[in-house]
């Protein structure tokens, strides 16, 4: 009792900084004022915002943290495009899964999720070149979002795969979501190419690591991309599988140099050191995504506001205000 009273007295006396007070600077207030206008703008009065989720195998779970931060801030997301793990997370988000459910899903996955990885299948892969099946990816997706089609998602969604015979990037915008996402996540050299719509499909990360083009195809006029690239300079592959993945990552990294320039805003969770098999670091990856997105939020808002002013201002004159 005495101890509690003493603590209370001490607390009242000690100058513990509670937190920075509200930012009432000119820039902060103007940003807040214009952000309100962007959020309340009727259709057509601001650019259509596309969320682009890159490939990145297990590192891609960081997208969940990014989505969580954007949702918490009320960032308007009109459509979603993703490749590989970005397609898995993106499809679920577009289908209406909340960030909390996405987090629950992401924390439940492990190296064996979405495939038939087992000791015997791994031996078959290494000794007899018998590739694994990615069918479990499809099953896992159906379990979470059901058998929905692209035209049934809450937000328009697209994902990218590659035809292994022609090298073409295939952007899926219609048909069965789970099948298309499975194709987008179908790592070459590990999983059998998926035969779908007369094509043999493998992971889209090989040709379209950051699918800004897919978002634009859906009608995005301003894109925010979450990029979960590997830092291959620090990783030392120790077996065939890791070497193959490293090559895919390097190829993806070269590709993304150009694609980065196409996005209007980039968020890059610092997850480059997380390996494909390090599923014990999933929570860390999600948190890193959330932290980096939170730190970039004000800059992202400014970017979208500046891109919206020309359209918003049409309603700011006396005539425009009346018309609304």
């Amino acid at each position: 009792m005495i101890r509690r009273a003493a603590a209370a007295c001490l607390a009242a006396l000690i100058a513990v900084p509670a937190s920075a007070a509200l930012d009432l600077s000119a820039d902060a207030l103007l940003r807040d004022h214009l952000w309100r206008e962007v959020r309340q703008a009727p259709s057509g009065r601001r650019p259509r915002v596309g969320l682009v989720l890159s490939a990145g195998s297990l590192r891609g779970v960081a997208h969940v943290g990014v989505i969580q931060a954007l949702e918490d801030a009320g960032f308007p997301i009109d459509l979603v495009a993703g490749t590989s793990m970005g397609a898995v997370i993106g499809s679920m988000y577009a289908a209406g899964m909340t960030p909390k459910r996405l987090r629950d899903f992401a924390t439940s996955i492990n190296v064996g999720s979405g495939n038939n990885l087992s000791s015997s299948s791994l031996i078959s892969l290494l000794l007899f070149d018998k590739l694994l099946s990615s069918e479990n990816t499809e099953i896992m997706l159906r379990k979470n979002i059901g058998g929905i089609r692209f035209d049934q998602t809450l937000k328009p969604f697209a994902c990218v795969s590659m035809d292994v015979y022609t090298g073409e990037a295939i952007i899926f915008r219609d048909g069965d979501v789970a099948k298309a996402v499975r194709a987008s996540m179908n790592l070459p050299g590990i999983f059998r190419p998926l035969e779908y719509r007369h094509r043999f499909l493998v992971d889209g990360g090989v040709v379209d690591y950051i699918p800004v083009d897919a978002a634009k195809l859906l009608g995005a006029e301003w894109t925010i991309a979450s990029v979960t690239e590997t830092d291959y300079t620090t990783s030392r592959p120790e077996n065939v599988l890791e070497s193959l993945l490293q090559v895919i990552d390097i190829r993806g990294s070269y590709l993304s140099r150009e694609q980065r320039k196409q996005a209007n805003f980039l968020i890059e969770p610092p997850v480059g050191d997380i390996g494909m098999f390090e599923d014990h670091r999933i929570v860390e990856a999600i948190d890193k995504g959330a932290v980096i997105a939170a730190s970039r939020l004000e800059a992202a808002k400014e970017s979208l506001i500046l891109a919206s002013i020309s359209r918003l201002s049409a309603g700011w004159s006396a005539k425009g205000a009346k018309a609304e």
Binding site: A8, A26, D72, I309, S313, W316
Partner: protein
């Protein structure tokens, strides 16, 4: 009684170094004069008093307090690196001391090293689950990192001890408002205002809460309350912009002029003026108001936005 005697005897036999746990740490009260200097806010004299020879004569709580006082004094004098070194050494010597852990955490947190600070705060909480300083530090870090729910939980833990601190209630309310938890947020603001009714910040916070819930009349009234209590130019700036949002351009112009009187280049006030002119159908005046903002020398957000608006006004309507 016999059941108690055995563990007590074992504890005493376990080693004299731990025996103090039974009746408290040893202290020769040698630190008291130095503590008096620290209480009198004379950090340079505290450092002069804490010579290595003197520190060597200290033990128990005195020695621990010496590290705290030395670190605090160095920190007060702006010698942050040295303060950090002292706290680090203190934490190594007294790894379970929550005061040293949280002080080192605070220093790191203030300098943006939140990951390291978080680790120290969490260690402090392990030793003292209700340590308000550690919870407050974690609340701020989590809020800055975007983990609003965790931040709110830490504020709640800190408020168990800091119930009488209006600034903590306001910080907690801000987190709740960011989560769009209006009901609890309003209660937290009300508590902050009841504790410190003459502080304008609570009323500014009320204004933001009202506006976020669509009550612009209530928001502007709360801003007026804040201004009556002496709120600074920020509140007036907000009022000018919010009057534009409320579709009251004449009042917005007047409010913006009040801000510009003291701060002629204020980006928000100039913007509010331009927007108010547009609402009044005076495009040429709006462009004129934007001129000070669109000079190439300015690179702040207000000026970038102003350039966008200037171009939009100047462009033919059909080109948009």
């Amino acid at each position: 009684m016999r059941r108690l005697a055995l563990p007590l005897a074992l504890l005493l036999l376990a080693g004299p170094a731990r025996a103090w746990r039974l009746w408290g740490e040893p202290s020769d009260k040698k630190i008291r004069p130095v503590q008096a200097l620290a209480d009198a806010r004379r950090p340079a004299e505290v450092l002069a008093a804490l010579t290595p020879d003197f520190v060597q004569t200290l033990r128990g709580t005195d020695l621990r307090q010496a590290y705290i006082l030395k670190g605090d004094s160095l920190d007060h004098l702006g010698r942050v690196d040295e303060a950090l070194g002292v706290y680090q050494l203190g934490v190594k010597l007294f790894p379970g001391n929550v005061d040293l852990l949280t002080r080192q955490g605070d220093l790191l947190h203030r300098n943006g090293l939140d990951d390291q600070a978080r680790t120290l705060y969490l260690k402090a909480i392990v030793h003292e689950p209700k340590h308000f300083g550690a919870h407050l530090g974690l609340a701020e870090i989590d809020r800055r990192s975007g983990f609003l729910d965790r931040s709110a939980s830490h504020y709640e833990a800190a408020l168990e001890t800091l119930d009488g601190r209006a600034d903590v209630w306001r910080a907690y309310a801000e987190t709740l408002l960011a989560q769009r938890d209006w009901t609890t947020g309003d209660l937290a603001i009300a508590r902050a205002i009841s504790l410190d009714p003459k502080n304008a910040d609570g009323h500014v916070l009320t204004a933001f809460a009202r506006r976020a819930q669509g009550d612009m009349t209530g928001a502007l009234a709360a801003l007026d309350d804040a201004l009556a209590l002496g709120a600074d130019a920020g509140a007036r700036r907000a009022k000018a912009l919010w009057l534009v949002e409320a579709g009251r351009p004449a009042e917005a112009l007047a409010e913006a002029d009040r801000v510009l009187k003291d701060s002629p280049g204020d980006g928000a006030a100039l913007w509010a003026r331009a927007r108010a002119q547009l609402l009044l159908g005076r495009g040429a005046e709006a462009l004129r108001d934007l001129v000070p903002l669109t000079t190439p020398a300015r690179a702040d957000f207000a000026s970038r936005a102003a350039r966008g608006l200037r171009d939009a006004i100047a462009a033919p309507a059909e080109a948009r």
